[in-house]
Amino acid sequence: MDNNTTTNEAAEKLDVIKHSLASLIRHAAISRLEKIIDCTAIEVSDLGPDFVPGKILANHLALIQITSSLVRVTFKCHFNTDAAKKLGFRAFGSDNTKTVSEKAVLDFIKEYCNLVAGNVVMLFEGAAIDMGIGLPICTRGFYEVFSNYEEMAATSIIHVDFWRMRANGGEIFGSALIEIIDEKPLECMIGYQIAEESNSEGEIEFL
């Protein structure tokens, strides 16, 4: 086995790790959205070929960080308030989303980010990797221009994933910036099977 073959195999393995992590985060984003908006018919799609990372996707942006010594994940939810209202109208408890304030929408999305981050932490725990969660913050979508999606030095390997989620005539965008700091311990994530959630998971039963 020559050196080139070894390098290629390592690169392929890293690629699989990246996609496994991205898949896990996207899963968390979709599954938490289903829960928070009480809808299982979420249409998920990749962004078109014209899309380039760094392009602004909406007027607002909420983000949360999930970090460990192995990996740092920045999950972002890009949204316009009207579209977000439509998407989560059940969560607002009213068909008439016109009466829902902008602040309520921002809080709703921040809560959604919290749920996604919590779910990601839980999934990593399943692979015996401890993660910490930051606070979700919300700002203007315009600040996406300050994101840096360039490949960085070997100490931090960057992978990005963007997707659109539609339901109830509304939509939001999800994105994940995955910075791999130590890839070796993350090999356990290859082929990681996400367990089926029970409906009662997370709920406390008072007997």
Binding site: V52, G134, T139, R140, G141, E144
Partner: protein, 473 residues
């Protein structure tokens, strides 16, 4: 139970503070008094503040990624795009571009563009996802333009020529529209004051006035403190005439006002007041006064000539020449009953030929003068005493025959008492006779006088030194 991670708590606290600070900054941008936008390289709107959202009454989600070109008319957008290119094109690259351009705002009822002052700046970020970002600041200039317009209307409608000149004597772009009329010129902006104001008058100026004109042309750029002394030499009245005859010219009163900055005259404000009508009126008044004076002199001369014609130089009484004019008026007044009665006396000095023959004409004239003086003395202001010829005197009265007879008697008695002492102590004494009558309406002057003459004849016949009338006194 996990140990609380104090570092994480601190990070969370920082994040909360950051979010609040960021929200505050965003609120400031939203409340920015004017348009604030961030455009990408395709001129799509990535961020619009509340002013812009309100201006177009569009939901902020609808504005996101909308082409900014859609808010402009085609031609206006081409200008806007040109300015964006100035900011971003490699060869023209600059940090800030400022310009004015109208934007079609749907609320405008007339559909006209609203004037905006734009400031464009480049926004540099590492992320190339949106290409070159442009920050746009737009200030609605409508109210300012409206105010300017109103001021301009006032400025242009005043009947004065107001304009500014710069260091080389060029007229500035803003001047009162009446100035063009005053100077009989078209567009004056950029033209030299020397050509349009002073040149037509230069030929008729004195050396001092020419120096004053030079002072006007060179005062911009000098210290403001020098102005009061300089201004004393400036021409303050100009006759501006572009035509060959004087009637086409205008008289201007000129005043000068320095516009200074930091103690130096930057521009000179010149105000022209058209005094042509005033000058003309003054000339007319002067001419009228001269004519009036001339007329007065002629009138006085005519009066003197007339007086000399109607006054007898020896006696000072009226002559026969005056008789016709004055008696015609008096008898007309009697005919129309404005004067109830008109009477007359005809006097004749008794034996006057003897006086002339004995003492000579010189002494005869003295006698005539003294008798005439008595007649004049006994006449009232309304009576008309006339030397009819030789030694005959007539007096007409706007009075009845009794008053006339009484006057005739006073004259007769005073003449009787007259004593003329000659150099050789010789004494001359004369008497006078009179015929008194009153006018009958419809009677001619000749007939009236003829009847009086008849009574004089009777007085002479009856022995002289008496008055005879148709009434018994």
């Amino acid at each position: 139970m996990r140990t609380p991670n104090l570092d994480l708590q601190a990070s969370h606290k920082m994040l909360v503070m950051f979010e609040e600070a960021n929200a505050n900054t965003e609120m400031v941008i939203d409340q920015f008094p004017g348009i604030f936008l961030i455009l990408n390289s395709s001129h799509e709107i990535l961020r619009a503040n509340q002013e812009f959202v309100t201006l177009f009454n569009i939901d902020s989600d609808q504005i996101f990624r909308r082409s900014f070109a859609s808010f402009f008319r085609q031609k206006s957008w081409e200008i806007f795009e040109h300015n964006v290119n100035k900011l971003t094109a490699t060869e023209l690259r600059s940090d800030v571009v400022r310009f004015e351009l109208g934007m079609s705002v749907s609320e405008t009822p007339t559909g006209e563009d609203r004037p905006f002052h734009w400031i464009l700046t480049r926004h540099n970020v590492k992320n190339t996802g949106e290409g070159q970002l442009i920050t746009v600041y737009g200030n609605d200039m409508s109210e300012m333009r409206e105010t300017e317009k109103r001021l301009m209307e006032v400025f242009t409608s005043i009947p004065l020529g107001m304009f500014t000149v710069d260091k080389i004597g060029k007229i500035g772009p803003s001047y009162s529209s009446y100035l063009e009329t005053m100077l009989d010129c078209g567009k004056l902006s950029g033209r030299l004051i020397e050509d349009v104001l002073f040149k037509p008058a230069l030929a008729g100026m004195s050396a001092d006035e020419l120096a004053g004109v030079k002072g006007v042309l060179t005062c911009v750029g000098r210290a403001e403190l020098e102005f009061p002394d300089l201004e004393k030499t400036f021409p303050h009245e100009i006759f501006h005439n572009l035509k060959t005859d004087e009637s086409g010219g205008r008289w201007f009163k000129v005043s000068y006002h320095p516009i200074g900055n930091d103690g130096v005259i930057e521009q000179l404000l010149i105000i022209l007041e058209d005094r042509t009508e005033i000058v003309k009126a003054e000339r007319d008044i002067l001419q009228a006064a001269e004519e009036r004076e001339q007329a007065n002199i002629i009138q006085l001369q005519s009066k003197a000539v007339y007086e000399s014609a109607i006054r007898d130089p020896l006696t000072g009484l009226y002559t026969r020449l005056y008789l016709k004019d004055s008696l015609a008026a008096l008898l007309d007044s009697h005919e129309s009953n404005k004067v109830p009665e008109v009477s007359m006396v005809i006097f004749d000095i008794d034996h006057f030929k003897r006086v002339n023959d004995t003492y000579g004409h010189k002494h005869g004239d003295l006698v005539l003068a003294q008798v005439a003086a008595v007649v004049r003395k006994q006449s009232r202001g309304t009576d008309i005493p006339i030397r009819f010829g030789g030694e005959e005197f007539l007096v007409f009265f706007p009075a009845n025959i009794v008053a006339a007879f009484a006057m005739a008697e006073r004259v007769r008695k005073e003449v009787e008492g007259l004593v003329l002492e000659l150099d050789d102590k010789t004494v001359i004494k004369v008497t006078i006779s009179g015929g008194v009558t009153t006018h009958v309406r419809g009677e001619s002057l000749e007939d009236f006088m003829h009847r009086a003459d008849q009574f004089l004849y009777h007085a002479k016949e009856n022995g002289r030194n008496q008055n005879v009338s148709e009434i018994k006194v």
